[in-house]
Structure formats: C-alpha cells, structure tokens
Subunit: 140 residues, 2 copies
C-alpha cells in the first residue's frame, strides 16, 4: 500500500467524530434558540463571573471580532451588561445578568445531556482515555 487515502487517516476520523458531535450539539442548542458562539460566551462568562471581551476571546477560543458581535447580541437580549473599566478605558467589562446566568445554566444542561448521546458508544474507561488523549492533542 502506498499512501493511504484520507479515509484511513487519524485526522479524518477525528474530523468525522467532531462533525458528528458538533452536529448533535448544534441541533440541541438551536432547539433552545442558541448558537454555539452564544453558548460558549455565556458559559465562560458564568464561570468567570466577570470578564473583559479580550478575556472572553481567550477563554472561548473566539476571535475578538466574533466576541464583539456575540456580546453585542447578548447585551441586546439583556443576558449581559457591558461597562467601561474605570482602571483601563480601553476595556469593556462584561457581566452576566441574572437572566443571563439562568440562560447559561440552561445551555450547560443541554450540552451536558449531549455528552451521553455522543460518547455513549464508549465504555467509561475508553471515554476517560479518549478525553486524556484529546486534551494532550489540543496542547493540554
């Protein structure tokens, strides 16, 4: 056998598993009216309690531009507030509203349920090993 085709490559298997996982999570989030970006921002913000937009970008892996757009939409929906930092006039401090915190936990629950659906085929020990390896791949 010379070079394997893409269908036998680990990168392909990884991509396919992620596509399937993403499809399921995305469908569940859409079912409650949320996008993936919104979920990430709200969930990260709930965990941090308060964060600047730049911090949210680092926490969520989103580009600053995409953070700005998402945060603006969430502000319009009264799920978070933004205010200039007194310490640093460049920075916008973002805080969840109580509706935002409720929403965040609702989305965390939705995502939690998806884990079973996606990783159900694996044994608990395979699952642990998979999580370990995946964490290593994305720079732990």
């Amino acid at each position: 056998m010379p070079q394997p085709t893409f269908r036998e490559l680990p990168t392909w298997l990884l991509s396919q598993a992620a596509v399937r996982s993403h499809r399921i999570l995305h469908a569940r989030l859409a079912g409650v009216g949320a996008s993936g970006y919104e979920y990430r921002v709200l969930s990260a913000l709930d965990a941090a309690s308060t964060a600047t937009q730049a911090e949210l970008g680092r926490l969520t892996g989103l580009d600053r531009r995409d953070v700005a757009v998402t945060v603006q939409a969430l502000e319009k929906a009264a799920l978070l507030t933004r205010s200039r930092s007194p310490d640093d006039a460049r920075v916008l401090v973002v805080k969840p509203t109580s509706a935002g915190r409720r929403r965040s936990r609702e989305l965390d629950r939705v995502a939690h349920d998806v884990q079973e659906e996606v990783f159900g085929p694996l044994t608990a020990s395979d699952r642990r090993q998979l999580v370990r390896s995946l964490a290593q791949l994305s720079g732990s």
Copy 2:
C-alpha cells in the same frame, strides 16, 4: 459542582482537537494550492478509480451540491473527466486524469505528513486507542 461549563466537556475537547488538526491540514493543503473538498474528492476518486458524483458524495461525506461544484472545478483544471453513463443517463461518471492521479498522491503525501504533526504528542499505543475510539464514535 453543578453543571460543568463547556470547557470541561468531552465534546469541547473533541472539537478543539479537531479544530487544531483541521487548521494544520488546511494550511498544508493551501500551501500546495488545494482546498479540503478538492483533496477529499481527488483522494476518494483515486482510490475508487472511477465513481459517479453521487458515489463521491457518499465516499467523501460531502453534500451532492458541494460535490458538483468541486468536481466542476477539478474538471476545469483537467484533473478529472466527466461523461454520461451509457447505462444510466442520469449519472455522470467521473475518472481522474493522469495529472489528477499525480495530484491526488501529492495531496495524500501532504496529509500523511500532517499526521505526525498532529498526533506526535501521543504514544503509539495511545494513538491506536484513539483511532479505535474515534472510529466507534463516527458510527464505525
């Protein structure tokens, strides 16, 4: 701890690992002037020797529409040919040209090299286990 945030979820780790893997593969393919769709179609076609567009869609996991667009571009680049099937006038039979076969193997080599870069952090046995689990997740 109530619900974990998205950053602790297996689906997130899977997504992040896939994003990183995709980024690397995509950059390497772009470096030789190919898109992911083109690589998948050419590689699948080279392995199958000949296929209809619908078959290519099933092999590559691409939507029929995206197969059509990709195949038309590859035809324009003289990397494959299309002809009506004599047996079934609905069907377009796609064959690689010799330039297409060379191109396909070039891209397979590029992708093969990426495997090391992406999965290098893992031991060989972790790698085998990961591939097994990933295959299970995408419906093996």
